[in-house]
Amino acid sequence: MIEDRDLIQQYLDQLRLSLRIPEVGRILVEAEDHLRAATAAKVAEGMSEERAQQAAIAGFGPVQAIVYAHQTRHGRVAAMLADLAISAWRVIAWYLLVAFALELAGLLRQPHPMTCSSQTPCPIVVFSGPTTTAAGVGEWVATGTAGLALLALYYGVRRFQRRRGRVWSIPLGGFFPLAAAVTSMLTVVGAILTVTTTHTDHAALLGGVGFLALGMGITYGWRMGRMLRQQERDHELA
């Protein structure tokens, strides 16, 4: 009898959504047979049903490991490129929004635009606010609009894919940290070069990446901590 909190079914659902290969039906049937047989053996040894299911799933392996094992070399490369593209998409969207927000904060704090010159160069992170010229305001609005549009499109596509029974890699997983680190590093270098060579007042736009990188670092660290703790629990159960 399948209980309300059937962990095996939840695991199989996750596996079904993550596997993108034609043999998914056979793989799921074999996985279910394996997990139910392992659970029955553990229950016969005296474990509770729930704990037996947890131990069976832990012994079978994390969904990512199973998906990776079933992927062909070609499939792994394709998944890696897709993950990289998706990560870059999300990072760029958030970066544009953070830059927009920093410019807005600058406008609220300091309504008069800062003037940078060779005698008083702009610091890397400065709340200068958008320039008062039409071109400056247009650029600022375009930054926010592009960020919002990219993010909305990202979540829209993700929702559409989920409805079709497909999920992307775990949030903040895969190449997200790498994409974030590279994007941040390149932008910081760009900011330093821009400020030191042109004395532009767009430093806030570029320097905003520091805040974004910090936020992503904290979030990623928190997620990784949770994941590692879960793996430790799985290992103990196995």
């Binding site: 047979d33 394996h34 029955a40 079933h70």
Partner: protein, 108 residues
């Protein structure tokens, strides 16, 4: 034993277990664990891609069966699989003897 080191020998282990007779995935894992006295620790779910690959190479054959009201895939060694097992077994013995000769000491 480390998972990565075990992966290099997984085909031989699977063929060897199935030389005793047809078995399903969970049965194969159980036999592997019992025969190795628990030394082989790998994610159980990762043996299925290896079984599918061996089947694709013609070394195994498989068919559906039913047990406890569930569908179950049962794997069996083919004649080509028996030949491959024999060849891999010989290669492993040569390798193990070579390792033993270099490392010295009493055989484990």
């Amino acid at each position: 034993m480390e998972r990565e080191r075990l992966k290099g020998h997984l085909d031989l282990l699977l063929l060897s277990v199935l030389s005793a007779g047809p078995a399903h995935g969970y049965g194969i894992i159980t036999m592997l664990r019992e025969r190795s006295d628990g030394a082989f620790d790998l994610h159980e779910g990762t043996i299925y891609p290896a079984l599918h690959r061996l089947e694709g190479a013609g070394l195994l054959d498989s068919s559906w069966a039913e047990a406890d009201g569930r569908k179950r895939r049962v794997y069996a060694l083919t004649s080509k699989g028996e030949a491959a097992l024999s060849a891999q077994h010989s290669a492993w013995r040569r390798f193990a003897a070579g390792m033993q000769a270099v490392l010295g000491g009493e055989p484990a």
